[in-house]
């Protein structure tokens, strides 16, 4: 790889309104099976990105807290060493990738993921006839019996490398990602600019800048997973002493 990338995301909790646009965008970009009522009741729904909603305080003085959670693409990912067939591994661009063809479905990776962002195809996924032509040709349609998870829309990253770096001979920066629609689907869909995607190795990128924000923290930092997703803490003027995650 000519350019040394380290893809990552910064999530500003303070801006999140819990609108779920990212969830829907992800669903349609990545050929994620339809979350039917049945699937949700079985607690097997697929949400590569989800908004966790927590209530703080007691009625009537109550606040809703939203937390978008997706694969953290840990540098030291607990899911990777436990896979007996190397179906999940770390690539040299900071991505935790899942190789569907290798996966045999032991589900050990999902057990060992502290963020619970891995999803198992318990059933053969099915789409209504009219939705079949909506499937994204750039993304594998998974079969039953394998794990799947957020890829940081790796198909878009690859397209960026082909179109921007190889064809046009330019560097991939924030501007290129935005103008050529190459950001992950959730980032594009977010109306309040909560999610910022970019290259940590590019000193001019927004993610590199935001990662030094005084509000930054990583989810479950004590586990030593070293995620490539950085959160910015909620600003709460009324909170007396809010404890860290």
């Amino acid at each position: 790889m000519a350019n040394n990338h380290k893809w990552g995301m910064v999530i500003d909790i303070d801006k999140c309104t819990g609108c779920q646009a990212c969830v829907v965008a992800c669903q349609s970009e990545n050929n994620i099976p339809i979350n039917t009522e049945d699937l949700v009741l079985q607690r097997r729904a697929f949400q590569w990105i989800r908004i966790e909603r927590y209530w703080e305080g007691t009625y009537p003085d109550i606040k809703a807290r939203f937390m978008p959670i997706l694969c953290q693409h840990c540098e030291n990912a607990p899911c990777e060493p436990v896979c007996p067939v190397y179906a999940t591994y770390h690539n040299n661009e900071g991505l935790n990738v899942q190789v569907y063809n290798r996966c045999i479905g032991t589900r050990y990776c999902a057990n060992n993921c502290p963020y619970q962002v891995r999803f198992f195809n318990y059933w053969e996924p099915e789409w209504p006839e009219e939705l079949k032509s909506q499937l994204n040709p750039d993304v594998t349609v998974r079969s039953r019996g394998i794990m799947e998870k957020c890829t940081f829309c790796v198909q878009k990253i690859r397209r960026a490398q082909v179109e921007v770096e190889q064809r046009d001979g330019e560097a991939i920066d924030d501007e290129q990602l935005r103008t050529r629609n190459l950001n992950p689907a959730c980032v594009q869909a977010c109306p309040s600019d909560v999610l910022v995607f970019g290259d940590f190795n590019d000193p001019n990128s927004r993610v590199a800048e935001l990662s030094h924000d005084e509000r930054h923290y990583k989810l479950f930092e004590h586990l030593g997973t070293d995620p490539n997703v950085i959160y910015l803490k909620k600003i709460d003027l009324e909170a007396e002493d809010e404890d860290h995650h």
Binding site: R43, P84, I104, T106, G145
Partner: protein, 458 residues
């Protein structure tokens, strides 16, 4: 010590080979019943593989449930084999004689069954070959040796190979006896299997040495197999109830607890089925009962330590897990049932000599232990996943589906049927070992008379 009558070689041969040359009706009835259970198992497993794991009660985040519990349980049962054959052989415990082969056979069949569990439990069992064998040479992709799931089959396959060798070496002289008593095609088969055994002193010497050597070689496996099975859990940094260093010894001693109990249950069943009252005596159960009381208490010590270490740090996620285990239904009820059936009922019972010598009470207590030990594994595996981390938004519950329950019950039939069918072709009590025992037999004084003892004690 109980008195016994000298049986003589001929009676021993006749009694112990009776089932091979003609089975009683009760044998076939029990086999038929078990075969129905195995049929249900096969149907359920086939249905699950064809339809997908959706038919189980598994969800997110409880990705492992009944099958992995059952896997750990059967690997645990298999520890009886080494415990009874290798360790008791090396320590020259005379009372082991009638129990050894049954224990080894239980080992072999429970290991087969245990191996089956993770295989049918994968999403794509037809690709399982990628798990066990190196593949894709061109791209240099090998099974991931960092994964506890690669250590697992390695350890279990080693154990299985050793156990089969162990059983076979011990069987050779008995196979020769069957060969000498049979005709036709059967004679041909047993001739092949007995490897030209003539019973010369040289052959006996080699057979003895092989037995002792295999016993010594199998000892490390005794410690390693269940330690490695426990690594499946203790290596998982993300699951609170799993990630603890005490798991290896805790699992090993728990395995012996459930394994030896299972062998007692099986021995009593065999005694009933094949009328082996002359061979499996209250004295043997007495000795096994004493062993069990010690092993059970050692296991309980580790259990208490594990629990204490868990709550000592008082971390919120650990407390959430323990609260679920203890105080939420149905887990709390299961926890109490586990404590009673696994320890507080059977072990105090074994302190009474009359219980240890009673077939009825030993059956009840040993089955109770295995109910408890099954629940123990279940209570480690499932609540740990239900309360994996602080993200309480995705906490979830698990309840098994009918398919899972059928498969789990079916495995019990499978192991028992395996043992019984084995008994149709091979003697489950080693003939020569009993004969040797008779030669070594001590004497006990009953009133003024001196009579042979049930087994020799130094």
């Amino acid at each position: 010590m109980q008195e016994a009558t000298k049986l003589g070689d001929k009676k021993i041969n006749d009694d112990l080979l009776a089932n091979i040359f003609g089975s009683e009706r009760r044998y076939w009835l029990v086999c038929g019943f078990l075969a129905m259970g195995v049929g249900a198992f096969a149907l359920a497993a086939g249905y699950m593989i064809v339809t997908g794991l959706g038919v189980t009660g598994l969800n997110r985040p409880v990705f492992w449930g009944f099958f992995i519990t059952n896997f750990v349980f059967w690997v645990g049962i298999s520890h009886a084999g080494v415990m009874l054959s290798a360790i008791l052989r090396l320590t020259k415990a005379e009372w082991r004689r009638p129990a050894t082969r049954a224990a080894e056979i239980v080992t072999v069949f429970s290991l087969f069954t245990a191996l089956m569990m993770p295989v049918i439990h994968t999403g794509r069992p037809w690709r399982i070959i990628y798990w066990f064998l190196p593949y894709d040479f061109q791209r240099m992709i090998w099974p991931n040796i960092r994964s506890a799931l690669v250590w697992d089959p390695t350890a279990i396959n080693t154990y299985l190979t050793c156990s089969i060798l162990f059983v076979f070496v011990a069987l050779i002289p008995d196979l020769a006896v069957i060969r000498d008593r049979s005709t036709g095609i059967r004679r041909l088969i047993y001739s092949g299997l007995s490897l030209g055994w003539r019973g010369t002193s040289q052959q006996w010497k080699l057979q003895m040495m092989a037995g002792v050597l295999l016993s010594a070689l199998i000892l490390p496996i005794f410690v390693s197999v269940h330690s490695i099975v426990s690594f499946d859990f203790s290596m998982a940094i993300s699951v609170k109830g799993w990630h603890t260093t005490i798991f290896a010894p805790y699992f090993v001693i728990g395995a012996v607890h459930s394994g030896v109990s299972a062998v007692v249950t099986v021995l009593i069943l065999l005694r009933f089925l094949f009328r082996w009252e002359d061979y499996i005596k209250p004295d043997h159960l007495d000795a096994l009962g004493k062993l069990l009381a010690v092993v059970g208490t050692a296991w309980f010590f580790f259990f208490a330590l594990e629990f204490l270490y868990g709550i000592y740090g008082a971390e919120p996620d650990e407390i959430a897990l323990r609260t679920t285990q203890l105080f939420s239904m149905p887990w709390g009820a299961m926890f109490i049932a586990f404590l009673i059936t696994g320890y507080f009922f059977p072990v105090p019972m074994w302190l009474f000599r009359s219980v240890r010598r009673s077939m009825f009470w030993m059956t009840i207590t040993t089955i109770s232990v295995n109910i408890g030990m099954w629940l123990e594994r279940f209570l480690i595996i499932v609540p740990g996943l239900m309360r994996k981390q602080d993200l309480s938004f995705v906490w979830n519950v698990y309840s098994p589906s009918i398919v899972e329950i059928t498969i789990v019950l079916g495995t019990f039939c499978l192991v028992l049927l395996g043992v019984l069918l084995f008994a149709k072709a091979f003697p489950l009590i080693p003939l020569y070992d009993i004969k040797e025992g008779e030669v070594l037999q001590g004497e006990v004084t009953v009133g003024r008379a001196k009579v042979p003892a049930a087994f020799h004690e130094e």
